[in-house]
């Protein structure tokens, strides 16, 4: 008989060990999956995890992509992790990402073709505000009417996606684009572009913002009263209230900061790597960032590492599609399995397994 016995205190050992173990188990399960698809499992795993960084031919292209993909994941995950720590479940970062991009791109398109130094900073502010405002909807609804933050924030993603499509074929459509959906390419509008800062590195303003967000979150959580309040709220809501934390204000703060960071991630994407508002602008970063946040143990440094790893699966997945003809869905399955194994193994952090012996109650 196998029994689970609650640990007196969460195991630090398992807390650190579960993320790498989950990655290994995902690789193993992924290999089985790929084998069942009739692909060489070893080659597939190598294509996903090794080739993007070290392949003599492709690495030069895909290595810079690592930062490009990791930046939005890290930015969004940092914001989400603050809420998750406080028991605020913003699942709708994807929508806030889209709305931030639309708001930022809207500013750029409104000023087009003017050339002024303040346009890009203004776009950044618009991106922050766009994501913030979209996140305030589930936040305020939860505080005022006690709605489910999970449901409302998630469903607003689909609203945002439709709004994006509307913008791409309507208001923001490129007047010189021959009727094709999609806005002007901001890469070609220097005052609004978010270019690669150092050639061949993938480094753009969003990457810098992601690093700043990591440091900011780290200091907030370890040194600042607000970060402490976030942790107490998550660990013991009644104790937080006793200590003077207003639960409503905490919900709004968490939604606000995660929405703003998702929004600004969208802005850096639309003005940089993606370049334009288009129907398929969204790439699922908002959802993958949830995996990043948990894989990183909701810890800023962990999120930095997890963001890079998940970015690798994006790039490796594309490479595997192209090299081994793996279906695109396989890589999403892969990312999903990662979260699944992580959450399953997390049980070991709080419980110990007892086999054969009855656990005392």
């Amino acid at each position: 008989m196998i029994a689970l016995e609650r640990r007196a205190a969460p195991s630090r050992f398992w807390a650190y060990l579960t993320p790498p173990l989950a990655v290994l188990l995902t690789m193993a399960a992924g290999a089985v999956l790929f084998a069942m698809l009739g692909k060489d499992p070893v080659a597939a795993i190598r294509t996903i995890f090794w080739d993007p960084l070290f392949h003599p031919q492709f690495a030069a292209y895909s290595r810079p992509q690592l930062l490009v993909k990791a930046a939005p994941l890290i930015l969004i995950a940092i914001g989400l992790s603050l809420g998750f720590r406080a028991g605020v479940w913003n699942i709708g970062a994807e929508g806030q990402y889209i709305m931030g991009a639309i708001a930022g791109a809207g500013v750029a398109l409104a000023f087009y073709p003017m050339d002024a130094w303040f346009i890009f900073p203004l776009m950044v502010i618009a991106g922050l505000l766009g994501g913030w405002a979209w996140a305030m909807i589930p936040g305020i609804l939860r505080v005022r009417f006690n709605t489910s933050d999970i449901l409302v924030s998630l469903l607003l993603v689909y609203v945002a996606q439709h709004f994006l499509a509307l913008m791409a074929v309507g208001l923001m459509r490129n007047p010189d684009g021959g009727g094709f959906p999609g806005s002007r390419n901001l890469q070609h509008y220097p005052a609004a572009a978010n270019p690669e800062l150092f050639p061949g590195t993938g480094m753009h303003w969003g990457v810098i913002a992601a690093f700043i967000a990591v440091i900011f979150a780290y200091i907030l959580l370890t040194r600042h009263l607000r970060g402490f309040q976030i942790r107490v709220t998550g660990a013991a809501p009644r104790a937080a209230r006793f200590a003077g934390v207003s639960p409503g204000r905490m919900v709004l703060f968490c939604f606000g900061i995660s929405g703003a960071l998702a929004g600004v991630a969208g802005l850096f994407e639309v003005s940089g790597p993606s370049g334009q508002i288009s129907i398929n602008f969204h790439a699922g970063y908002g959802f993958t960032a949830i995996i990043v946040a948990f894989l990183g143990r909701l810890h800023p440094i962990g999120i930095l590492l997890a963001g890079l790893l998940l970015a690798l699966t994006y790039i490796g997945g594309e490479l595997a599609q192209f090299m081994l003809d793996l279906p695109a869905a396989a890589i999403q399955t892969f990312q999903g399995m990662l979260l699944f194994f992580l959450l399953a193994l997390d049980v070991l952090t709080n419980f110990r397994l007892r086999i054969g012996k009855r656990a005392p109650v």
Binding site: A9, L225, F228, R241, F242, R358, P360
Partner: protein, 508 residues
């Protein structure tokens, strides 16, 4: 006694957990029809021992004999089948269900509801435990809920009934009823293993006592023949200090509550209705009453967790009714709620972090929003040292501490911040005798130093010991405070209201 009377014989039971030996070679006997006390401080190993007897814990070593035959229950079901029943300190009842439905839920093979209700009525009349099978448990008092648990056990006609700290939630009258029931049960041949650290109860009720200290049996005695102080000494290992009390000349008015009313926060909560009281410097007011009559709500209203109408609470003339906990702390109104884990302290956070929880502003553990963790750790160390908190250090999580030690920490955290007014709910609940004395002394010292204290407690002896005035919370209303001098325990029982239930009680 002769061998044939022997009901349960515990021989050399030992049980160790990582870092602590809960039971160390414990042996004692229970004779049929006796009320046997298991006496010891919190953490002495009483609970582990009875859980072993009840089949919840398997011992590392030792054996038990029931009716002379080996007895090693692997589950509570096996123990019940062998005639051992237990009433826990914490009830496991569903508030939304009726008494009979709750009893049926605990049975392997429940009879039809009407038949069950009849049996519940029969048992309750036989043992003088007034209880209607049709009432909803959510509407019952703590004492009545306990009766549900007792009846549930009695329906199985146990040979041995284990009662774990049964009086901690009862009014004096309810305690009397319980004792009569237990005596009646014993007369009918059921042995009772009665766990407590309250010496008065044990002297009044029990035939024999086994005293545990730190997992070991340190003595057996006949409570009627031994003085309470002797038993206390055995239990604690040294003589207990009785708090010294000095009457303080009351000073200026510090806190005034006038017409404080609040709707309940949840459906099972209690509404506060028109509460008024005035508190002067140097004064301790004791607030008694059965749990669930608005104690938690009153503390929340005073601590600032819930805000009330403007003007209902003033501190030194300043209206604080609309100020939150942080603002009230800054002004000197500190509090310590009853629930230690999860309310007064965050279980998974370290003692340092828990020190930060309420002391950030007042102890200047913070500068412009940034936290000074070293200062917080020093403050936590000071609490640990000054209040004799037994812990390896300030970095252990709160939930690793025993209830009594955490309580000392929580009280110490507030007392060391030198409050002007200190509100505390159940300051010594589940705390051992020595620690309880230390906590009471700390409250008295606070008052001597010019603070005012509101002590909400279910322990009437405690309130009589420290309070200058006594009032009772009943269904969210506060009685007019009366001086404690010259107040008898009977007066208090009447003030506590519950009388309407009590008069129906009689032993058939």
């Amino acid at each position: 006694m002769n061998a044939s009377d022997m009901l349960l014989s515990v021989r050399g039971i030992s049980k160790a957990y990582p870092g602590v030996i809960a039971n160390d070679d414990v042996s004692f006997d229970v004779v049929g029809g006796e009320i046997h006390a298991l006496l010891g401080e919190n953490g002495a190993g009483k609970s582990t021992l009875v859980k072993t007897i009840y089949g919840l814990i398997r011992p590392d070593a030792g054996e038990m004999l029931l009716h002379g035959a080996p007895f090693a229950p692997a589950t509570p079901n096996e123990a019940r089948a062998a005639g051992v029943a237990m009433v826990f300190q914490h009830f496991s009842l569903f508030e939304a269900l009726s008494v009979a439905e709750n009893v049926a839920l605990g049975m392997q093979d429940p009879p039809p509801m009407r038949q069950l209700a009849a049996r519940i009525r029969e048992k309750s009349e036989l043992y003088g435990l007034p209880l209607s099978p049709d009432r909803r448990v959510g509407d019952l008092s703590a004492g009545e809920r306990q009766r549900v648990e007792i009846i549930r056990c009695l329906l199985e006609d146990p040979r041995l009934l284990i009662m774990d700290e049964p009086t901690s939630v009862l009014t004096p009258q309810e305690v009397d009823i319980l004792f009569q029931t237990l005596r009646k049960l014993a007369e009918n041949g059921t042995a009772i293993l009665y766990i407590s650290h309250k010496l008065k109860e044990i002297t009044a009720l029990c035939d024999r006592a086994t005293i545990l200290r730190r997992g070991r049996v340190v003595g057996h005695c006949t409570p009627r023949d031994v003085s309470e102080s002797k038993m206390a000494e055995l239990m604690v290992g040294s003589a207990v200090q009785v708090p010294s009390r000095r009457r303080n000349a009351p000073g200026a008015e510090l806190l005034r509550v006038s017409g404080l009313s609040l709707p309940p926060a949840t459906i099972f909560g209690t509404a506060l209705q028109g509460i008024s009281l005035a508190l002067r410097s140097g004064e301790i007011i004791g607030i008694g009453g059965i749990a669930g009559n608005g104690q938690d709500e009153l503390l929340a209203a005073l601590s600032g967790e819930r805000l009330s109408a403007p003007g209902t609470i003033t501190l030194e003339g300043r209206d604080i009714a609309r100020s939150g906990p942080t603002a009230r702390r800054a002004l000197g109104l500190l509090s310590a709620p009853e629930e230690r884990l999860g309310h007064a302290a965050a279980p998974d956070m370290s003692l340092t972090e828990n020190a930060m929880l309420t002391a950030a502003h007042r102890q200047k553990l913070m500068a412009r929003g940034f936290l000074r963790w070293n200062a917080a750790r020093d403050f936590a160390r000071r609490i640990i040292a000054d209040f004799d908190v037994r812990t390896p250090g300030p970095d252990v999580p709160a939930r690793a501490l025993s209830g009594g030690n955490l309580q000392k920490f929580v009280i110490g955290r507030e007392v060391l911040q030198r409050p002007r007014v200190f509100v505390v709910n159940q300051p010594t609940w589940g705390v051992d005798a020595a620690a309880a004395a230390a906590i009471r002394q700390a409250l008295l010292d606070l008052a001597s130093a010019g603070a005012a204290v509101i002590c909400i407690s279910q322990d009437l002896d405690e309130l009589m010991e420290i309070a200058d005035h006594f009032a009772v919370l009943n269904e969210g209303r506060l009685s007019a405070p009366r001086p404690t001098d010259g107040l008898s325990i009977e007066d208090i029982g009447l003030m506590m209201g519950g009388a309407k239930d009590m008069e129906a009680a009689h032993v058939a």
